[in-house]
């Protein structure tokens, strides 16, 4: 019974293919198998995005002591559909001097990597579209292409605020890409594989990487850089409403605007899913079906992101850059060393050594990054010397 609940989606796919196979030639059956996976992801991604918008509005509303949307349908559950209809019926405005083709292409192209990332996420035991041997590399490569389309959108709009937002986006992405990649390297070092499935299987039992000293540091770096990668508060400088109208999507309206949000929310989901996969054990967990564990962990991380959004004000540009280059990057490099030492030493000793090293490096970086408080200046009148 539990076995069936665990494999419910895999079995459903098998049953569907068994049902179809008598009617199809061999090559078409393979094709159908691919199409079923693609269809599942293509439905799951946008639906997730729609309900993440609702969830975000509800959570932020509760944080601000109000209800959030609760008028359309029970608990406001039909609100995303109402929003979608509104978005589709809005006028599509293209600025007169815009680069029309790029302006049209950017919002469409930005959704593609966001959807492709879903193919390497292990949603449960055996529930992965393609078990790529370079899964994490694939994810890192695709998540960084998002910034190209953000910049294309900002450039094509021919608007100063858009361009500023795009520039900020590029600067931020490049800065945060490096600690992000470096923070996941310890996991690859310990597991010895890029495959997301192998990473999850290496964490079976309660050996989640977040319970190791290098894992907690890596988890924090990876999660924070992930938040920065998907442009969410407090790292949402590319669209800082209070500074540069709406950043890169200033000149977008209607469904094109919604597509940027779709990409952002799908990236939010996939980043949370990859963080959960790499550090929180993916679908590993007792009693419940594997995919339930996966969604619990992913949504817990999404909740933290929305909690950030409800709490933290936007960073200043220099603070943002300083945080990436002066704190996260050295910590990620040291963390790589710590993971290597942890791997080489014997079992009880390695935890202690790694813990001491993590705490030591954190304290060192805190000290090095401490605010520089200038000495209090004392003014003396000239005549006091005489």
């Amino acid at each position: 019974m539990t076995e069936q609940a665990d494999q419910i989606f895999v079995l459903a796919k098998k049953a569907l293919l068994n049902f179809l196979s008598p009617f199809l030639p061999d090559w078409a059956a393979v094709f159908a198998s691919i199409l079923v996976s693609i269809g599942a992801i293509a439905v799951f991604g946008p639906v997730t995005m729609m309900y993440l918008t609702l969830l975000e509005r509800k959570l932020v509303g509760r944080i601000q002591n109000r209800y959030g949307p609760n008028r359309v349908g029970f608990w406001g559950l039909l609100q995303p559909i109402a929003d979608g209809i509104k978005m589709l019926t809005k006028e599509d405005i293209v600025p007169a001097k815009a680069d029309k083709f790029a302006h049209f292409l950017a919002p469409i192209a930005i959704v593609v990597p966001a959807l492709l990332i879903f193919s390497v996420i292990p949603f449960g035991r055996g529930m992965i579209a393609v078990d790529l041997s370079i899964g994490i590399l694939f994810f890192l490569a695709l998540s960084s292409t998002t910034t190209i389309w953000i910049f294309v959108a900002s450039w094509a709009s021919r608007n100063k605020f858009s361009l500023l937002g795009g520039m900020r986006s590029v600067a931020q992405m490049i800065s945060y890409e490096i600690p992000m990649v470096l923070s996941i390297v310890p996991v690859l070092l310990v597991v010895g594989s890029f495959s997301t499935v192998a990473i999850v299987e290496a964490q079976s039992g309660w050996h989640w990487f977040v319970f190791t000293p290098w894992g907690i540091a890596g988890f924090l770096i990876f999660f924070l850089t992930g938040v920065a990668e998907v442009n969410r508060t407090p790292f949402d400088l590319p669209e800082g409403e209070s500074e540069i109208v709406a950043g890169f999507h200033t000149e977008y309206s209607g469904m094109k605007f919604a597509l940027f949000y779709m990409a952002e929310f799908m990236n939010t989901f996939s980043i949370s899913a990859i963080v959960a996969t790499a550090y929180l054990g993916g679908w590993q967990g007792p009693w419940l079906p594997s995919w339930v564990w996966f969604f619990i962990k992913t949504y817990a991380l999404i909740f933290v992101m929305m909690w950030f959004r409800g709490t933290l004000p936007r960073l200043r540009v220099d603070q943002l850059m300083g945080f990436a280059w002066k704190f996260l990057l050295p910590l990620a490099l040291i963390n790589l060393l710590i993971a290597g030492i942890w791997l080489k030493l014997e079992s009880p000793k390695n935890y202690l050594v790694a813990l001491v090293m993590v705490i030591g490096s954190l304290m060192l970086l805190y000290w090095a990054n401490g605010p520089e408080i200038p000495k209090k200046r004392t003014y003396r009148y000239a005549y006091e010397n005489e």
Binding site: R62, R66, W307
Partner: protein, 179 residues
């Protein structure tokens, strides 16, 4: 205080608000407007209405035109009624208030010497048209004295006492004027 301690402090504050919004009324102050509503304060004022005492023909308004003259945006139109012989009567034939112009100042209520016009608590007055739909005529503006006593009990008691006192003073003089 450690570096970044303020962030944790802030996160705890928002988390407390998030959790308590499910349990305590102070942390979820929204009033779900169409279903539930706050009781209107007595001194709340919106658009004016014309008061009648017992039946709708007994308007207190004598069509003196003071409110129309004092009205800053000039939203009141009054035409005095007259009988068959053309003798003017102490009642309005037309009493229109254009609610699209009225600015809810309440000066008409203040200046009325006959306590005939008062500010109402009614605020859900949305209409489809901008012009005729919002131009309220005499029949739409009429409301009973009981309604006034219900929405503004203190003001109603004060004004009723004033009117009763006035009526007593006028009473002995009445026979003289009739002769």
């Amino acid at each position: 205080m450690i570096f970044g301690g303020g962030v944790i402090k802030g996160m705890l504050v928002t988390f407390k608000n998030f959790v308590l919004s499910y349990f305590s009324k102070e942390h979820l102050t929204t009033v779900q407007y169409p279903e539930e509503r706050l009781p209107a304060k007595e001194r709340y004022r919106n658009f004016p209405f014309l008061i009648f005492d017992n039946k709708p023909e007994d308007l207190r308004c004598v069509s003196c035109d003071i409110c129309a003259k004092e009205c800053p945006p000039k939203c009141i139109t009054i035409v005095r009624d007259s009988d068959a012989s053309g003798k003017p009567l102490k009642r309005p034939k037309v009493f229109d208030i254009d609610f699209s112009i009225c600015m809810n100042c309440g000066i008409c209520e203040e200046v009325c010497p006959f306590d005939a016009i008062f500010m109402d608590h009614e605020f859900e007055l949305a209409e489809y048209g901008r012009f005729e739909d919002l131009n309220y005529h005499k029949e739409d503006l009429l409301k009973s004295a009981e309604h006034f006593a219900k929405i503004r009990p203190q003001d109603a008691a004060r004004i009723d006492a004033k009117r009763a006192e006035k009526a007593q003073k006028v009473e002995p003089a009445k026979p003289q004027s009739q002769t």
